[in-house]
Symmetry: C2
Subunit: 285 residues, 2 copies
Amino acid sequence: MAPAPLRDLADRPELRCLNTATLGYREPVAVTAQRAAAAGFGWITLWRSEIDERQAARDAEAIRAAGVRVRSYCRTAYLAHASEAARLQAVDENRRALEAAAALGARELIAVVGGLAEESRDVDGSRAQILRGLEALMPAVEATGVRVALEPLHPFYAADRSLLNTIAQAQAWCETLDPEGRHFGIAVDAYHVWWDPLLAASIAGAGPRIRAFHVSDWLRHTQEPLLDRGMMGDGVIDLKRLRAMVEATGFDGPVEVEIFSRDRWWKEDPDVVLRTCRERLRTVC
Amino acid sequence: MAPAPLRDLADRPELRCLNTATLGYREPVAVTAQRAAAAGFGWITLWRSEIDERQAARDAEAIRAAGVRVRSYCRTAYLAHASEAARLQAVDENRRALEAAAALGARELIAVVGGLAEESRDVDGSRAQILRGLEALMPAVEATGVRVALEPLHPFYAADRSLLNTIAQAQAWCETLDPEGRHFGIAVDAYHVWWDPLLAASIAGAGPRIRAFHVSDWLRHTQEPLLDRGMMGDGVIDLKRLRAMVEATGFDGPVEVEIFSRDRWWKEDPDVVLRTCRERLRTVC
């Protein structure tokens, strides 16, 4: 059977999402929302640091007024810590993030789960702490109706940002946390997963768990995998092929552009960035 | 059943190997061999660029005279290329490397297989080219008696250095290339594999395929994963636990120290580096 054709992203704002990180956090969220809407994005994904969570409803209103909706909210506090107090504090933080996400009308809270606990070399122990921290969020997830999307991060970040490093691992965690698949899903970010020898099988296996799909590009000779992401098409990732895998699972959400690029795109005029993103969504994604 | 105790590395030169990269390639191989012997290493692993392969027997003699043996030889030329001519040239290069390895008395040629072919985004296609390139080495492997040890590299290098990124993937390739397990094995380098969610199962599954075990450390906040490796004990890897996994498969080779550290250890006095390595092998590996 031939694979289904890719969805046509042209003239479909509801299939395009802008992660605000792409513009380098240089302007207030309301301004970013206006720019995104003008550039043909139907959704934005926000970061906690960009808004005042005590007044999330006010930001939500400004975003709606600009003509876009909030798709996901970034991101959880790290969950593995040396002290029980710090672990509990992280769970509290994440509960507040879920509440703010709900006030913003976001579908998912993106979970970047954290690396090793401070001073620890215990990968399995830290992973177990992270799982317990996620488990502790279940009541808030149920109360808010906001899902948690576990985002596997590139293994480069295993020590200090995330011990969740492959889609298959995220899938196994979802099965443990939420066998019925109501509350915990997966965010697939091309930048983090493109190298995975088990990529096709993992995406097929994750199936309806996939709740978000992020694109950018891996520059062939990157030296710095945190803030040196490439614009789609400028690197080595076959984004059309990856999107085909994701869409074959039935994924019907927007394609979200998320580019951390301190020295290139964050120095560019925001409207130029957005026009380029939209063009590349059409041509290479 | 309790796991077998770790082998005691103290006073066992035959269980200690120095990869010459650890000293930063600052001195002739014969001098490095003398220093290694004096510091209690029974083996060294060499790089192609360090010797004149047309006169490998002469270097081999100098190394033997210093009192150490050559364990492995680094490394294969990259195997995925845009042109057939470049692919054939890489196979020729690797044949010459196997011959030099034999002349040096090395047990294994370390295979760093290469990333994507030039200008390519085709991960599967490049991996297929790499497999064909390895397959083409079989006659030279049989003729020389030198094994090929496939070294999975950290996914950070997938684009430009290696599309072989996990132990399980290396194991699958070995099964394809050499079902009987005579010619193709695996080099496990702590730095490259420590983060793998499937680490314990992959090592157990690789079993007698494991032909080399390399140690160094991953610095928690490393910015540069090529030349910023840490001394064992200075980073986040639980090296004793990893060695226990490897030794539980029956691995009886030496523990090889391989530290690429341009700004720290390559600037240190070579004998201090070697003393530190030996001490850390005793205390944290």
